[in-house]
């Protein structure tokens, strides 16, 4: 205890000493008042809060619970030893293993996708066939409430199980998982996100939610599953099941794992949409900061393997083994050739803007609802109840639409799986029943491909509004379910509505006004307006429809949708990331921050360790602080004033390393007892290190000392205190750093910059204005 108080006092002294000793900081400290004034008068806007307390559910708070991943290789002596011992052979072996892992990722992701797909298809077939039959049986008896309650029950029961799994077993498996994967690839450690438990809950949950008839799809969860599979396979062990296969030991670090996860996400996209190129671009677009040619190549390999495996399995399942016609889960089907004229392009842009507007509204409504959920629906049982109620509401809306809108079409003209007669004549079926009594994915397909005049304007219009609101309510429930399909469905429906309207206006243009074409443009616009993805979305839609010549209209639509939507708010994934307070670093540093310097951004009193430090000091430090990295410094020299200056930077050591050192008792005094140590001692414990409370240190041990020099990273990236924010940002983003020590002219550590310090400065584009906000940090978010 003694040494600790000593330590903090040192720091106080250090702060005070600035005024007198460090001449290099004089210009900053000339006048404290002027300085702080100039801080506030810059372009930044700081959210003022009273009593340092905020309402939960704001976008402007970062959560303190998110840690950063560590992509920087620790070049300590152990690593150098390892490199000396192993040579070319080891390197080649490691590279071959990488390829093997990517192959396995592709295969396993596809197999999971297949089992999800097949289960959904089988279960929903049973469900909708029963419902369709029952409706027609009871409608003549005037007891429509019987099939209605059956529908409600068929929805609620699976959703109840799925939501309970998510709420009670693994809350991180809720939603599509794309925001979480995006954060992970960005370098934020989202707790539990790549665990096997998450994978199980996610895949079972998505089957149950889709079978439960919720307005959602299985594509987003597939991407998350791919990421988990990648993270799991590449480690060659499972901490959950306590199994270690003893393989792939060299991949047990954040850096390698991140590369595999980016491959896994790509394989997931590829399996979900049958879009291998789209998958690779998704990984690129959604954040892998460190991206090189060989990783791209391997990622592409995993994607192709994934879609191939899926193809083989699904074609066998559909009874045509070897016929590779099932590249992805979402099969939008081949479009019959449609042409477009150059004068249609402005119209597509208009549709894109409209999609952007609808998307922005969708995001706004969903944001409001999410805030409500964060504030008031925190209890797990409440979450399950909410999911069940929404499932019942979905059934109600669907059934009411069938009941109220008597849109009948003769049987046999269009492919309908379960034609339901309702109030139609014999030999006719109710169009709305046929839309509702199938999985949303099949509905998208029929909107794209059904011949003109299949749907009448009124039923489409009511359907658009109902589904728009339902999908908005559904996203954010405690269910693993994605938003691609419902958004596509809404967009396709209003796109078709546009085609119907155009045909009314220009009855002669039947050749040009192909309803499927407008459904596609509408779907793209709506999706672009909600998720605001660009490259990968264009390529994914292109690949799923197999229509390359339609790339220009698609890209124009998506650009229009994104720009229109960005005028109002952010994409839905970013909104949810901001709501959960994840310190995400965007692609570019915020504008107008060249005048913000490291000395202003950094955390100031830095907790440092000396090159040789006492065990009880280290243990106290680990107990008292939450920091994960500590600069290792030379002992500060006392100057003539009697105040110590800062220590000179010698290296960086991580909390996890310290814990391993303590666990293995690598003390100077016990060096005779050391087992052979190599860098694998740190990899063996990865990814779950013990906390300091779990490490037992005897009183005798506390007297010992540790020499940190062989374990620390002797050459950490560090910058001068006069470095601008944007420069630090780029360094952080490009290298995937976790800690960045700030030094003064004499290489003494005066501060530390971490991810949260940089993520605090966030650019905010709102209604055409661009400002930089400074966010606050809260622990309990």
């Amino acid at each position: 205890m003694n040494s600790n108080t000593d330590h903090t006092e040192n720091h106080k002294d250090a702060v005070f000493s600035v005024n007198e000793t460090s001449s290099d900081l004089e210009e900053l400290t000339n006048s404290c008042n002027d300085y702080s004034k100039s801080l506030l008068s810059s372009l930044r806007r700081r959210i003022l809060t009273s009593d340092e307390v905020v309402e939960p559910g704001t976008l402007n708070i970062l959560s303190a619970k998110y840690e950063s991943l560590d992509y920087d290789t620790c070049e300590n002596h152990l690593l150098l030893d390892e490199e000396r011992k192993k040579g070319t052979k080891y390197l080649i072996k490691k590279n071959l293993q990488r390829w093997l892992v990517f192959l396995l990722i592709g295969v396993c992701t596809a197999l999971i996708a297949c089992s999800i797909d097949i289960s959904i298809e089988q279960l929903s077939q049973v469900k909708y066939a029963t419902l369709s039959k029952c409706v027609d049986k009871f409608i003549v008896e005037g007891k429509l409430y019987i099939p209605y309650f059956m529908y409600v029950a068929f929805n609620i029961i699976p959703v109840f199980i799925g939501a309970s799994l998510v709420a009670f077993v693994e809350p991180v498996a809720a939603g599509s998982g794309i925001p979480q994967v995006k954060c992970y690839l960005n370098g934020v450690k989202v707790p539990q996100v790549v665990r096997i438990k998450t994978l199980i809950v996610k895949s079972v949950g998505v089957v149950l939610s889709v079978v439960g008839g919720l307005a959602g799809g299985k594509e987003g969860p597939m991407i998350h599953s791919g990421a988990v599979v990648a993270a799991g396979i590449s480690q060659g062990k499972s901490t959950t099941f306590n199994v270690d296969f003893g393989i792939f030991k060299h991949f047990r670090e954040d850096h390698e794992k991140r590369d595999f996860v980016s491959g896994g996400a790509a394989a997931g996209v590829s399996a979900a949409f049958g879009a291998p190129v789209g998958g690779v671009l998704f990984s690129l677009e959604e954040g892998t900061s460190f991206w090189n040619q060989s990783l791209t190549w391997r990622t592409f390999f995993a994607s192709i393997i994934s879609t191939f495996t899926l193809n083989v399995v699904l074609s066998t399942y559909h009874g045509v083994p070897g016929n590779l016609n099932y590249p992805g889960l979402l099969n939008l089907g081949q479009f019959e050739r449609f042409s477009y004229q150059i004068y249609e392009l402005p119209f597509f842009i208009l549709m894109g803007s409209f999609g952007g507007l609808l998307g922005a509204l969708w995001n706004y409504l969903n944001y409001k609802l999410s805030v409500w959920r964060i504030r008031y629906i925190r209890n797990k049982w409440l979450k399950v109840t909410e999911a069940c109620l929404i499932a019942a509401l979905t059934a109600t809306v669907g059934f009411l639409m069938m009941f109220l809108i008597n849109d009948c079409k003769p049987l046999g003209q269009d492919p309908t799986k379960f034609p339901t007669q309702m109030y139609c004549g014999d030999g006719e079926y109710n169009v709305l029943a046929s839309i509702w009594f199938q999985t949303p994915e099949a509905s998208v397909r029929s909107l794209f491909h059904d011949p003109p005049n299949t749907h009448n304007a009124l039923s489409l219009f009511v359907f658009v509004i109902a589904y728009y609101l339902l999908s908005c309510t559904t996203f954010g429930l405690a269910c693993s379910i994605g938003l691609f399909i419902p958004t596509l469905l809404t967009g396709a429906a209003w796109g078709r509505l546009v085609a119907v309207g155009l045909l009314q206006l220009f009855p002669n243009a039947t050749a040009l006004v192909h309803p499927g074409k407008y459904a596609l443009v509408g779907a793209a616009a709506q999706l672009g307006g909600v998720v605001r993805m660009t490259i990968s979305l264009t390529v994914i839609i292109m690949e799923t429809t197999g229509n390359i010549s339609f790339a220009l209209p698609l890209i124009l639509t998506l650009i229009a949708a994104k720009w229109t939507g960005d005028f109002f708010n952010e994409g839905i994934y970013d909104t949810h990331i901001q709501l959960s307070g994840v310190p995400l670093l965007p692609w570019e540093p915020p504008p107008f921050v060249h005048n913000i310097y490291a000395s202003e951004v950094m955390s100031h009193p830095v907790v440092t360790l000396r090159t040789i430090d006492k065990v009880d000091h280290i243990v106290e430090l680990l107990h008292l602080t939450t920091y994960n990295g500590f600069p290792v410094v030379d002992p500060p020299i006392r100057e003539e004033h009697g105040y110590p200056t800062y220590g000179r930077l010698r290296g960086m050591i991580l909390r996890s390393q310290l814990i391993v050192i303590l666990q293995r008792r690598l003390f100077n005094e016990t060096c005779e007892d050391w087992e052979s140590i190599s860098s694998s001692i740190f990899r063996d414990e990865y990814p779950r290190y013990a906390t300091i409370d779990e490490v037992f240190i005897s009183d005798e041990d506390k007297m010992f000392t540790i020499d940190l020099r062989p374990f620390m990273n002797p050459s950490p990236y560090s910058v001068l205190h006069s470095t601008s924010l944007s420069r630090m940002f780029r360094l952080f983003r490009a290298l995937g750093l976790r800690h960045l020590p700030i030094v003064n002219d004499t290489n003494e550590v005066i501060g530390m910059v971490t991810r949260k310090d940089l993520a605090r400065y966030r650019v905010c584009r709102h209604r055409g204005k661009i400002v930089v906000e400074e966010l606050l940090i809260s622990k309990e978010l």
């Binding site: 900053l28 429509l144 009941f403 046999g412 030999g427 955390s603």
Partner: protein
């Protein structure tokens, strides 16, 4: 290598000789061509004649068989220049003969007409299939009921519903509704007409008072809204505390003042 080539060519020679021997009879290709032309013409005429209401399959089956025979005659018969058909196909881009023949075939197949007739060893006959005759029997029963003197528009639903149900059930049994056209087009058309007539007169009975259903939908929708309101009322407020960050400037100002 050479040996293999020799064997190969001898084999080819033998093959061509046997092929030639098969169709030794010299035919008159012009006559065959005229036959085919007449067959296609009468088939087209028949098709248009019986296009509405569709009796195409039933009425044009003989003409269609003529077309098939005419074409196969041309492809198997030879004159001194080779197969008759070779004088008409694959010579120009218009391909008149092939186009018209394919058209006839296509029309026949799209109407699923082959389902109306019995097949004999893979060749089409003009004998109606069992399904067709059974269906026609049932349909005749229904029509005689509808047309009988004691039935008028108001009583038709009660009186003939037995016959109608039988016919409807049988039709559903033989046609696969998931496909675009399950049964031969003649039957589909007859059935569509019957159903339209029947639904027009008798479908009102499907509409019942569904007050129970409507009340239950209202209850469920209302309870969802109530749930959201209750969550707000019943939950206690949570206020996350902002972490004070230690900054260089801040700490300095505090200490200096």
């Amino acid at each position: 290598m050479q040996e293999i080539l020799v064997i190969y060519f001898t084999f080819l020679n033998i093959l061509s000789i046997t092929l030639c021997e098969e169709s030794k009879t010299i035919a008159n290709c012009t006559v065959l061509k005229d036959d085919l032309a007449n067959a296609v013409a009468s088939f087209s005429k028949c098709a248009i004649t019986y296009s509405r209401p569709i009796k195409f399959c039933e009425q044009c089956v003989n003409q269609y068989i003529d077309v098939l025979n005419g074409y196969s005659n041309m492809s198997t018969s030879k004159d001194e220049d080779g197969f008759c058909i070779d004088g008409y196909v694959n010579l120009d881009k218009l391909e008149i003969l092939q186009t018209l023949y394919d058209n006839s075939n296509d029309l026949w197949n799209r109407a699923n007409c082959y389902k109306c007739f019995q097949m004999d060893n893979g060749t089409l006959t003009n004998v109606s299939s069992v399904e067709t005759t059974t269906f026609n029997d049932l349909f005749n029963k229904l029509s005689s009921c509808i047309n009988s003197s004691e039935v008028n528009v108001t009583t038709v639903c009660e009186k003939c519903s037995k016959q109608y149900d039988e016919l409807n059930k049988y039709y559903i049994g033989i046609s696969n509704e998931n496909e675009r056209i399950g049964m031969c087009m003649d039957i589909v058309d007859v059935m569509n007409g019957t159903r339209a007539y029947w639904s027009h007169n008798c479908c009102k009975f499907r509409h019942k008072n569904e007050i129970g259903f409507i009340i239950s939908t209202v209850i469920i929708s209302f309870s969802t809204i109530l749930f959201y309101i209750l969550t707000k009322v019943c939950s206690q407020k949570r206020t996350p505390v902002i972490l004070k960050q230690t900054r260089f400037a801040g700490s300095f100002c505090n200490n200096a003042s």
